[in-house]
Every structure is written in C-alpha cells, then in structure tokens.
C-alpha cells in the first residue's frame, strides 16, 4: 500500500473531487482494505472447520467470491484516476463497468455450479459426516465449531456493508454498491449455514444440502442481478441511480437548468454514465435563432457547475431537437 499516503487526493479522470467526495473515497478505500482483511480471516477459519459439510463449502465459496468486488473497486479507483490521454480521450471511467461485469460473471458462474452441486448432493442422498475435533485438548463436535465460525463471519460483513452503502451512493460507484449489498446480505449466508449444521446435529441429513442450496441460490441471484446492471451500464443505458433502479435525478436537472436560461426555447440531453462520472450531450434550440458564443459558454458553466459528476459536456445549438438522437423527446 505505497499509495496509501494520507492526504493523497482522489480524482476521476479530469474531475478533481470536492472535499466531501474526497473524504468518502478515502473512507471507501480503507473499508475495502478492511473487507479484504476480514475476508482473509473468514476464508481461513471456514476452511479449517468446513469438513465435509456442503453448506460450509458453499459459504466458503461465497467468502472467496467476496474478494472480487473490493479488489475490483481498489483497482478501478486507481485506474479511473488517470487523466484522459490522446489514446483514451474519454478517460478510464469504464474500468468500473468492467470490474462490475467481471465480478457479476464470477458470481453467476460460481452460483450456478454450487446450485448444481447441492442439488446433486440432495438427489444422491449424501449424508455428511461430522465428527470430533480436538481443540486445545478438548474434544468438541466439529458442528459447534462450524456454527461459531459462521456466526463470526455474519457480524463484520454486515457492519462493513452498512458502512459502505452510503459511500457507494455518494461516489456513484456500482462496484462498491454491489460489494456493500453482498456484505449486507451476508448474515443470511451465515444463518443458512448455521441452520444446516444444526440440522445435521439433530439427525436431518438433508438439512446440509438444503442449506447449501439456499446459499448457492443467493449467490446465483446476486450474479444475475449484478450482471443485468453491469451490462446495461456498459450498453450506454441512460444514467441511473447507483442501484440501477431509477433514472438518475441529474438527468432531469440538466435539462431543467438549460430550459431555465432566458435564451433557451427547448433543451434535451443524452446522459451517459461512464462509471462515477457522466458524459453529457445537450441539444438546445435558441429563442432568437443561433445563440451567441457567450450564451453557449453560460449554458456550459451552468450545467458543469451542477455536480462534480458532470465531467464532460457538449452543448449543441440546433434549429429543432433531433428526434432520432433523443428517442424520448417526441412524447414530450
């Protein structure tokens, strides 16, 4: 972590982040490292006690997969900091999208594999053997150790997820959002595993495979959901909020800001989410023909001043709004 010097300033391409966003980026990076540290302990402990339990195996796979989002976030944070170059005139913001797509694909693949694995375990009627271990001279049923480890993995993950969620929204970072979302849901994995192991304990052999199926299904579900958001972002879908659910409010604000200018008769924009920042093309129709250079500059300043997320703006004066470039404009 040679880059970890305090006071290092974060930037997304040409965008120098404002003070609060700087603080958020610092905090997010610290939390990503903390997550990696926690995952190292979780993966080690689960591996040590997992024995032949399917549910423990699924929980272990989930912990392993949980490494991808924080690593993708840290890598993307470094790469998006690069200033656009001659070869990459749009900057490096898409690295967030690529990181997100990779993470989603890994979740999807692993989830599908584990679902098949636990279903075949159920169908084959596999009875998981769970015997004794000697810990510090005491003979303990391994099931109790599994329960203890699963209970441990449950708590920090949820705390980390809750801490990261507002930062993901503030930084408009989808990878961080996916990471926080998975962490927040981690208690279900822990609890599912605990139920499975206790099920073995009371003599229900199928409880283990059933718990494994539940955990794998949740991994698969995460994969599908993230893949949809990642793909739609890379397909230049209109900018949405970080959870991919709603249209991003800046979209409306930009048009409203332009329309509020006294010389503007009509205005509409295409907003593309590059990951962290938006690239905007705004079409404006002047009230009295072609706007002056000063008016255009005024429009440019008004929109780029709205939010640091508006990194790149092109204002195009037109006679009428081009419907073929602005599919939504006809209905208005």
């Amino acid at each position: 972590m040679t880059q970890g010097a305090v006071g290092q300033s974060f930037r997304f391409g040409n965008t120098e982040l404002p003070r609060e966003a700087q603080a958020a980026a610092h905090r997010a990076r610290r939390l990503a490292w903390l997550t990696i540290g926690f995952l190292v302990t979780a993966v080690t402990l689960v591996y040590l006690v997992m024995g032949s339990s399917q549910a423990m195996k699924a929980a272990w796979a989930e912990d392993l997969l949980s490494f991808i989002p924080p690593i993708a976030f840290l890598v993307a944070l470094r790469i998006t900091g690069r200033v656009p170059s001659e070869k990459h005139p749009y900057g490096y913001h898409r690295s967030v999208g690529i990181g997100h797509l990779v993470a989603a694909t890994a979740l999807l693949t692993m989830g599908a594999f584990l679902v098949l694995d636990s279903v075949s375990g159920l169908l084959a009627g596999e009875h998981p053997p769970v015997g004794l271990v000697v810990v510090l001279g005491y003979e303990v049923w391994s099931g109790w150790l599994m329960v203890a480890v699963l209970a441990y993995t449950c708590v920090p993950a949820v705390l980390l997820g809750r801490a990261k969620m507002p930062l993901a929204e503030q930084l408009h970072d989808r990878v961080l959002y996916a990471d926080a979302d998975m962490n927040k849901a981690d208690w279900m994995t822990g609890l599912g595993g605990i139920v499975g192991v206790l099920g073995i304990g009371v003599g229900l052999w199928w409880a283990d495979s059933a718990a494994a199926l539940f955990i794998s299904a949740s991994i698969l579900h995460d994969g599908v959901r993230n893949l949809r958001v990642a793909v739609s972002a890379l397909m230049d879908a209109r900018a949405t909020t970080v959870d991919g659910k709603d249209q991003h409010p800046l979209d409306e604000t930009i048009d409203a800001t332009l329309r509020a200018l006294p010389w503007v008769a009509q205005a509409a924009s295409r907003v593309r989410d590059e990951g962290h920042v938006f690239h905007v093309e705004s079409f404006v129709v002047g009230r009295d023909g072609t706007p002056t250079q000063r008016q255009l500059q005024e429009a440019w300043d008004a929109v780029t001043g709205l939010d640091w997320k508006v990194e790149d703006l092109v204002v195009v004066p037109v006679d009428e709004l081009p419907e073929e470039l602005l599919p939504g404009v006809r209905g208005e």
Binding site: P129, G143, L198, G201
Partner: protein, 163 residues
C-alpha cells in the same frame, strides 16, 4: 438494524438448539440410528487384512491391533461383534449400503474412500515410507454422526503404540 436482526436470529437458532437438547435430542444424532441399534446389540465390522494392523488366524479368526481396539470398543457399548473378512472395496460397499457399521484394515487418513465412508480421527500417527507423518483411521457409515463421535471419543482415549 440488520446486524441486530442477525444477532437476534442467531440467538433464536441457539435457543431452538438448546430446547431440542433439553427435550432429549442429543447432538449429533444418527439419521439412521446406528448407535442406538449397536448399543446392547450387534456391531457389524468388516476386516480387510493388512498386517500388522489387521489379519486372520489360520482358522479365520480376525486378529491384530485394530481388531483388538474394535473388540474393546464393542465392549464399552455392550455389543457383540460380528466380523466379516473381505477385500477393502467390497467391505466399503457393504458399509455404504448399511450392511456394516465399521471397517478396519490399516487405513490411513489419505484413504480414497471419503465419498463412501466417514473417516475417523487418527488414533495413532506413524511415519510413512516417504518420511511423512501418516494417521491411522477407521471407516464408519457416512452421516451417522452420533456413532462416529462415540467411536472417535473412544479412539482418542486410547494410548496406542504403533506396531
């Protein structure tokens, strides 16, 4: 809120476990009741000859260190031992089908039978021909965890000298 929910639910699960334990359900329990059946009844043991751990006398009676261990274990359960002598694969097949309760044959912790049988803790560790430590184990039916734990507890209590 989520953390608290997690903690509450874990607590609820533990409470359920405690209730079950109080109601006389021991943890772990055998899905197929092996330990209950063996206690005061018959312990069906497969022996695959592997000197000096297991072997047979000229009259067919099983002998060896593991045979002695098993006979002693059966005594703690007040069970009579029914011996079946055979090849390892056939015996593991019988164990998997529920026709045997235990298989011995100088097996080690690196046994390839883990998908068909539950491998016990090592009751003695010796040095293999490559100079690596090698634990000697027995095979129990998969998932019969009360029986497995009973056997392992017995094995861990023994002070076995490698032959």
């Amino acid at each position: 809120m989520t953390t608290r929910r997690c903690a509450t639910r874990s607590a609820a699960v533990l409470a359920v476990a405690a209730t079950l334990a109080a109601c006389g359900v021991t943890v772990p329990t055998d899905p197929d009741g092996t330990l209950d059946r063996v206690r005061g009844g018959e312990l069906r043991v497969g022996v695959s000859p592997h000197e000096p751990w297991t072997g047979t006398l000229p009259d067919g009676t099983p002998t060896g260190l593991e045979v002695d261990l098993v006979a002693d274990f059966a005594q703690t359960l007040d069970a009579d031992v029914v011996w079946t002598v055979g090849g390892e694969e056939a015996l593991v097949g019988d164990l998997d089908r529920g026709e045997l309760d235990l298989v011995v044959g100088g097996l080690t912790a690196s046994s390839p039978w883990t998908s068909k049988a539950a491998v016990t803790v090592a009751y003695v560790t010796v040095t293999d021909p490559d100079g690596e430590p090698e634990g000697h184990v027995m095979l129990a039916p998969t998932g019969e965890n009360a029986f497995l734990v009973e056997l392992e507890r017995y094995l861990l209590d023994q002070e076995v000298q490698a032959p």
